[in-house]
């Protein structure tokens, strides 16, 4: 029973990873790509790690999986936020259909560069 729940969690994680990578390839902008990639891939990898913990039990590999899960949850949101902030400050353009940009009212952008 425990192993069955673990394998179902691993399969859900694989599905979320594939959907996140399709989002990385298909979406038109850096910020939208970061949205798709970071949310989907973080949740998918955490699901894979928790499923591995359920399959392995309290052995060496399972406890390391829990440790890695906590570390990924703590750091991945931070790294996505840092990439978005530095891209905005470096002046990377938005997608044409963007409606509102509230961050540039407080922090005005430099001139637009495209590389």
């Amino acid at each position: 029973m425990r192993e069955t729940i673990g394998f179902i969690l691993v399969a859900i994680g694989l599905l979320l990873n594939v959907l996140g990578c399709i989002g990385i390839v298909r979406l038109p902008d850096v910020y939208l790509r970061l949205m798709a990639g970071t949310k989907c891939v973080t949740l998918g990898t955490c699901s894979i790690l928790f499923g591995t913990f359920l399959i392995m039990g309290f052995t060496m590999g399972g406890v390391k999986c829990l440790l890695c899960l906590v570390f990924i949850v703590l750091t991945d949101a931070v790294s996505a936020h840092v990439i978005t902030r530095s891209a905005h400050r470096a002046g990377i353009k938005f997608y044409e259909g963007t409606i509102k940009d509230e961050y540039s009212e407080d922090h005005p952008k430099k001139k637009d560069v495209n590389s």
Binding site: N17, C21, G37, V41, T45, C65, S79, R85, A90
Partner: protein
């Protein structure tokens, strides 16, 4: 021309699905352990996702795209280490995963500081 593109991509997708369903990846040094068919298919799916990320690395228009794609590919490789832990039962694959997570986080911080234009100290 558009019809040809649709046809070729449909053939590619169907052949990838057939590869995943009918020929799971053999794991060479541990052929007798349980859970091998599931793990072979899971490793196929993760490797294809990493190839999609590498497409974004090669053809990203800006440098923030490249940093983002490298970060996400690192997280997916941690998932691959976990799947190999299921296959073999050895614990040291997750050591590789933890080290990769630390290294990827510090690399992303340093590269985005460099992209922002400040020095690396402050």
């Amino acid at each position: 021309m558009k019809l040809l593109q649709w046809f070729l991509s449909a053939v590619l997708l169907i052949s990838i699905a057939a590869l995943i369903i009918f020929r799971p990846l053999p794991i060479l040094f541990y052929p007798k352990l349980p859970h091998i068919p599931f793990v072979g298919r899971a490793i196929y799916i993760l490797v294809l996702s990493c190839l999609l990320c590498l497409y974004r690395v090669v053809r990203g228009p800006t440098s923030a795209d490249r940093i983002m794609a490298i970060d996400i590919m690192g997280i997916m490789i941690i998932g691959m280490c976990a799947v190999l832990t299921i296959a073999t039962g050895r614990g040291w694959y997750m050591d590789v995963g933890i080290a990769w997570a630390l290294q990827s986080f510090i690399t992303v911080l340093a590269l985005s500081k460099h992209l922002e234009g400040r020095n690396l100290d402050a």
